[in-house]
């Protein structure tokens, strides 16, 4: 088991596959509501991974990733409408490629920009996408969006594995959770390999010191555009998964608020770490539960002005406090604690 001690591809493969298999096993025993919650968080994990790659590993900030997610989601819905015979994996890949192309086009001028300019440009991009989609109504269904022509339903082997008494809805919810876990697993695996690769190292050098990066012969603009494209591809994959698991897409799902949510979750979880992205997804998935606990225990009417905005107030405040006091987020705090334990031993 020596290979498990080093950060090799084999180790990453073993860790990822075994965690995904274990989680898939869990989908059989947890209540269906937990499966739906898992599914909701899965797409967000992938979106955070994408933003993380851009922000955490190449030092560029985007406040417009919901725009790329919209490309992935609408790409999926439109492909399913016109080429319904296409296998799901092919649809997802094509939608991801569409979003990557959008990322490439936005990324090329973005290489000329630094920090705040770039963030502003992505914000302008992200805000421009939903109205654009709304107005291309013959393609996108306008403000109402599109219903997916085919939604993934549980295959017969899964149904035969469960009790006969288990309802079809329960099995379908489980299937969606398994499907999402699989996609997340592949995304995490690819990302951790990318992080350890030559490209990943180049990105980190560009982030930490762009002059040094240039001096060792890295092509700065190309590295930055590549980071943007990969990041947009991940956002597109997240959008595509979201479309499949929700069964519908609407321009209202991809407003600037979603971009801000993803940015917040990335910071809360921990910038630049895969564990942080996963934590962010879990926080997102359970934020509604947390909120109803909060309104219950404080006695705030959830439908009042305060109650309906409590979530944003809480997370907006938390984001500011995190950035001011612990900018490396939860996973940063955890590794700090571990480091202390290790040195005191």
């Amino acid at each position: 088991m020596n290979f498990l001690r080093q950060n090799t591809t084999t180790r990453r493969l073993v860790v990822t596959v075994s965690s995904i298999v274990a989680l898939m096993g869990l989908t059989f025993v947890v209540p269906p509501i937990t499966n739906s919650t898992l599914t909701r968080g899965a797409a967000i994990v992938i979106a955070i991974l994408g933003l993380n790659f851009l922000t955490g590993w190449s030092g560029q900030v985007s406040i417009g990733h919901a725009g790329f997610m919209a490309f992935g989601a609408f790409g999926t819905a439109i492909l399913l409408k016109h080429f319904s015979s296409l296998p799901i994996a092919a649809t997802m890949l094509l939608a991801t490629a569409l979003s990557a192309l959008a990322g490439l086009l936005v990324g090329i001028p973005a290489t000329r920009l630094s920090g705040p300019y770039l963030a502003g440009m992505t914000l302008a991009f992200g805000a421009a996408v939903p109205p654009l989609i709304q107005n291309l109504s013959s393609l996108t269904g306008g403000p109402a969006g599109l219903q997916l022509e085919t939604i993934p339903t549980a295959p017969s082997w899964l149904r035969s594995l469960r009790h006969d008494t288990t309802s079809l809805i329960t099995v379908n919810a489980q299937w969606l959770a398994m499907f999402s876990l699989l996609v997340v697993g592949v995304a995490v695996m690819l990302m951790s390999n990318l992080h350890a690769s030559r490209t990943g190292r180049a990105m980190r050098l560009v982030r930490d010191n762009d002059v040094a990066a240039e001096l060792v012969g890295l092509n700065l603009p190309r590295t930055r555009v590549l980071a943007f494209t990969i990041s947009a591809a991940y956002a597109g994959l997240a959008g595509s998964l979201m479309a499949f698991t929700k069964g519908s897409v609407s321009p209202q799902d991809f407003l600037v608020g979603l971009s801000i949510t993803i940015l917040s979750l990335m910071v809360l979880g921990g910038i630049g770490t895969i564990s942080g992205a996963i934590l962010g997804g879990v926080i997102y998935a359970y934020s509604d539960n947390f909120l109803s606990w909060l309104t219950n225990s404080t006695g705030i009417d959830p439908y009042s002005n305060l109650g309906s905005n409590l979530k944003t107030i809480f997370f907006g405040g938390l984001l500011i406090v995190t950035m001011l006091t612990a900018p490396r987020g939860i996973s940063g705090l955890i590794s700090k604690v571990f480091a202390k334990v290790r040195t005191s031993r």
Partner: protein, 299 residues
């Protein structure tokens, strides 16, 4: 006959665009002020101005005069801006670019949510102090109303006052000095920290003027009412170069006019995208901004 209707439509769009453009320019100016003094791009600028406007304009409920409420809004902007610099921004100086961006984005969503929690998300409509019916010429509307004229005059006066303050007063000189070379300014006895706070306060007050103008009339006051104009203002500031107040104003007017024509001849849904394309094209031509003199560092 057709030619005259067409000419009138173009004139309408042009004047309407200029009216919207000066307000965009005002937002751009407030961004430039903060950028120049602290090198922070304030993503919460629009939200802060909106919040200040709520504080002032809800006083209309107490039967206060429009102008008094507008003045309270601007004063509230001044205080909010200064307080924000002290509490949120000061710990961030010298940190990586991403830290102030994230904090200000967090502040943006926090302010919008708090405003919705206090005053609800439904727009409240404020009667303009001047008529917003277009002037007529030969029985055709000109695209300019008394209120629009007031907007243009107010925006240009605020810009002129800011320019005069920076150019000709001792305070302005100190503000410029603390932005350009904080250490040297400090050695020469300028109280730099205080001036940075003042820079933010002034900038938010300027933003509040823009927010009061936007919230009066058709758009109405609601928590997200500055989002679109903030983005247009950022595009104007970036095209003009974040160093140049005059450039920001000019770019703001150009964007206002272009977007007005897009709205009228194509579709309002495309205006945002046209803005992004304008930004991209101008940045590809001159990344440091069309009106900035010095080139930035080249690697």
């Amino acid at each position: 006959m057709i030619a005259s209707i067409f000419a009138s439509r173009i004139l309408n769009d042009l004047l309407g665009g200029i009216t919207a453009g000066v307000v965009i320019g005002l937002v751009a100016l407030s961004l430039v002020l903060i950028w120049q003094s602290t090198h922070v791009l304030n993503f919460a600028q629009g939200a802060m101005a909106m919040f200040a406007t709520y504080i002032g304009m809800t006083q209309l409920d107490h039967h206060l005069n429009y102008w008094v409420c507008a003045l309270i809004s601007v004063a509230a902007g001044f205080v909010l801006g200064g307080a924000t610099e002290r509490v949120l921004v000061r710990p961030l100086y010298g940190k990586a670019d991403i830290n102030p961006i994230v904090v200000m984005v967090g502040f943006l969503s926090l302010l919008e949510a708090i405003a919705a929690a206090i005053w609800s998300g439904t727009p409240r409509f404020i009667d303009p102090p001047f008529s917003s019916i277009f002037f007529q010429s030969d029985g055709a509307p000109t695209g300019l109303s008394p209120f629009a004229l007031f907007q243009i005059i107010a925006a240009i006066s605020v810009m002129a006052a800011t320019a005069l303050l920076f150019r000709f007063t001792k305070l302005g000189l100190q503000l410029r000095a603390s932005a350009l070379a904080p250490e040297v300014a400090r050695l020469l006895g300028v109280r730099v920290n205080r001036l940075l706070t003042l820079g933010w306060a002034l900038s938010t007050a300027v933003g509040a003027v823009a927010a009061v103008i936007i919230s009066t009339g058709d758009t109405g006051l609601y928590p997200a009412n500055m989002e679109t104009v903030f983005i247009a203002g950022f595009i104007a500031a970036a095209i003009g170069g974040l160093e140049s107040p005059g450039g920001a104003l000019l770019a703001g007017v150009v964007i206002g006019v272009v977007m007005q024509f897009v709205n009228d001849y194509f579709n309002s849904g495309y205006a945002g995208f046209v803005g992004v394309i304008l930004l991209i094209v101008s940045l590809l031509i001159r990344p440091q901004g069309l009106f900035t003199k010095n080139a930035q560092r080249r690697v």
